[in-house]
């Protein structure tokens, strides 16, 4: 945590976030969508997308960059879902089996991707993009051709002519309740209650941390920060009560999928805790400098491999969570946009190619999905055509990724130039 609080520094650091915050607020204002509607959509989208976005963090810290290869992980997740559909396993048990089936696949796919990345050092991000396309070819070859033509399968999800799977698959058993909302519907809580709980948690956390740190007497958090956090906590508690007391009953009925959010919280916790282990320190070390890390005795290739494998497995699980919310799987399309959207999200949240944390992921999902929700209606309101909003959205996705990559590369070039100049001065 940065103890020195300077407005200018903060603005400069969060320029991307602020830009998209403005865009989102502006979009909400012109789109004329009702606030409860936006909130309902947003809560759903946060629940289904955040896990996938969180899967990007470890490779970024380990210096591999934006892992476009999570598409491969998403495919593993879908294979798990196809498996449970074939055996007609429903509900949360089905999803558990799907996760179980997809994990070894994701480990294997992640291993292959990591091997590729280690062979294409410096070009991981284009390699990741292409490996997604390539894997998609193999995936289609398997599910459009091998299934049916080589392995005879009789199931409702196979196309009428018996070769290949249908384009859309209703997951789970045919006659049961399926797997739609299997995780989301376990426990649902009202949004306003959830927010109040969140605020209480924030206050409690601040107090406990303060107590804990004082006891260890290592470093204390500045008083200002503590007061800021406490005020924030109180505000978080008061806001829903205020809003509801104005009589907006629609807002009161919005539900939060508690278990999905809990899973996200667990992954957040994992991402934070792993950084405190030896492995996490190795990730950070190779992210800073592969050369220094290898001199210090870290096996760079192996550590990179672990980072990519973890990311791929999380992506597989993330795709399962994503699709249980959607309900039907677009067999040949659901995985394709995963990488782009997740990466655009985390970048909008303020992450860079070499630095990311869980807050970047969470803020990014909120902002990106808000832009997603409002852009068609905003496009219609501003230009009379919803398509413009959609094109703008896609432009934002690619543009944000492009700009982030450019900034990263530019910094790298500047660094090497200054290093070279330094060397020259030494020679002189």
């Amino acid at each position: 945590m940065n103890n020195k609080f300077s407005l200018k520094g903060m603005l400069k650091q969060n320029v991307v976030v602020l830009l998209f915050l403005t865009l989102t607020v502006g979009g909400i204002m012109v789109s004329e969508l009702s606030f409860p509607h936006i909130m309902t959509e947003l809560v759903t989208r946060i629940g289904r997308n955040t896990f996938l976005v969180l899967s990007l963090i470890i490779p970024i810290i380990a210096g591999v960059g934006l892992n476009f290869g999570i598409v491969v992980g998403a495919m593993a997740g879908q294979i798990g879902l196809i498996f449970i559909t074939y055996y007609g396993i429903d509900g949360i048990g089905g999803l558990f089996v799907a996760a179980l089936v997809s994990t070894p696949l994701a480990l294997f796919f992640g291993y292959l991707t990591a091997k590729l990345y280690n062979n294409t050092k410096g070009q991981e991000m284009i390699a990741g993009l292409i490996v997604g396309f390539f894997a998609n070819g193999i995936y289609q070859f398997f599910f459009l051709f091998i299934i049916g033509a080589v392995i005879p399968v009789s199931h409702a999800m196979v196309k009428p002519d018996g070769v290949g799977l249908r384009n859309t698959i209703a997951m789970g058993s045919k006659y049961g309740e399926g797997i739609k909302y299997a995780i989301d519907n376990i426990i649902k809580m009202n949004l306003w209650q959830f927010i109040i709980l969140l605020g209480m948690f924030l206050i409690l956390h601040t107090i406990i941390m303060q107590y804990y740190i004082k006891k260890r007497a290592e470093q204390s958090i500045e008083k200002k920060t503590i007061i800021f956090r406490l005020i924030l906590g109180v505000l978080v508690i008061i806001t829903p009560i205020m809003v509801l007391s104005f009589g907006n009953y629609q807002l009161a009925t919005i539900k939060v999928p508690l278990v999905s959010l809990a899973l996200i919280a667990v992954l957040c916790l994992f991402n934070v805790l792993i950084m405190k282990t030896k492995l996490g320190q190795n990730f950070r070390a190779i992210g800073r400098s592969q050369h220094i890390a290898s001199v210090a005795g870290i096996n760079v290739d192996k550590t990179r491999m672990i980072a990519i494998i973890l990311s791929t497995v999380f992506a597989a699980w993330g795709q399962i969570i994503f699709l249980q919310n959607i309900g039907t799987m677009n067999t040949y399309g659901s995985h394709m946009q995963v990488g782009m959207f997740a990466i655009a999200s985390i970048l909008i949240g303020g992450a860079t190619v070499s630095n990311a944390n869980i807050w970047h992921a969470i803020i990014g999902v909120i902002l990106f999905q808000s832009v997603f929700i409002v852009s068609p209606t905003a496009g219609k309101a501003l230009f009379g055509d919803p398509q413009i909003g959609e094109f703008f959205r896609a432009f934002v996705v690619y543009g944000v990724i492009g700009v982030a990559l450019c900034l990263h590369a530019w910094k790298k070039v500047k660094k090497t130039i200054s290093k070279n100049e330094g060397e020259q001065e030494e020679i002189e």
């Binding site: 294409t120 410096g122 292409i130 070819g137 070859f141 230009f383 690619y398 990559l405 590369a409």
Partner: protein, 377 residues
Amino acid sequence: MSRIIKAIGIPRLIITALFIAVLLTGFGLGMPMNMFASDVVKRVGMYGLLTLAMVPSIQSGTGPNFALPIGIMAGLLGMVISLEIFYFLDLNGIYTVATVESQPWWYTSDGNIQFGYSMAIFATAILIAIPIAVLAGFGYGKLLNLIKGSEMSIAPYMGFSAVQFMCIVWIVAPFKNTGIKWPLGPGLRNTFILDQTFGKSLNGFLMFNIKVGPHKFIEIPTGLLLFFFLSCYLVYLFTKSKRGTEILAGGMNPKFAQASGVNIDSGRVVANILSTVLGAVGIIVYSQSFGFAQLYGGPLMMAFPAVAAVLIGGATAKRAQVSHVIIGTLLFQGLLTVALPVANELLPGSNLSEILRMIVQNGIILYALTKVNREGQ
């Protein structure tokens, strides 16, 4: 033997073997080989220029031009502006559509538009597209100079963003030509047919048939091939010129070239301008041969087949020649052209040829990427 294999390269051997296998399968199934030959020749001309666009950028050291859609957008812009101009000329009676009942013997066309008229639209499209492409390529080249070492990672997103940005332009641009805009609502159409404008204008020029049997012909689109080979020759001349050699030197060994007084940065800009211009002209040639123009998301992924083709032809991410373009386009596009009907004959509606394209195209790019760090360091 192993020397020969090494000289040809394993990926090229695999793809050649695949091509021959598909051809033999087609022959065994009794499919019309003369049709295959006609289609392959046409496809080579169609995709040739887009593949050729890879040569200058690879030679300059910026890697295959994954941002080819920037050039393609310039070409499409030139095309729709040209169509708009001729629509207005026609509307105001300045230069009216010259339709003819029958074309001269040296010109074959789908529509009934006179050769001179369709050629005028074609040439105007290119003339408008080139300055736009030069500007875009200049900006893109300048950007690449800021981010040396990461060109290949950034390029696809520059291309993608260009396509998405132009999607907005296609909708809001105030075009009036009823042939290219939606009859209702704003914006240009997704695809529009070119047979009443400049479709097949190059293909049809001096087109002739080679008789290979009773009622069997191989169609040779002479104009298209001439244009392609002429462009290849011009690019070849450029690479042999003083500037071209400097660019090549800068791409192969930047430090050495810098030491010998070569301005690498400007060389990279020039090479990328050339690449972008080739992309722009390439899409116009492509569209006239295809007979349709595709706007919006159509060109989003067009860079990848072009990159794959030049790599299959024997180029690497750091070295490329014009000969690689010709060999690679013939092999890759030939394979895809023949695989489509053969796969459909074997397994109707299986999409097998599209799957083959995905695997071959992306496999060869991945293969080339794994070689980047090992060569020329």
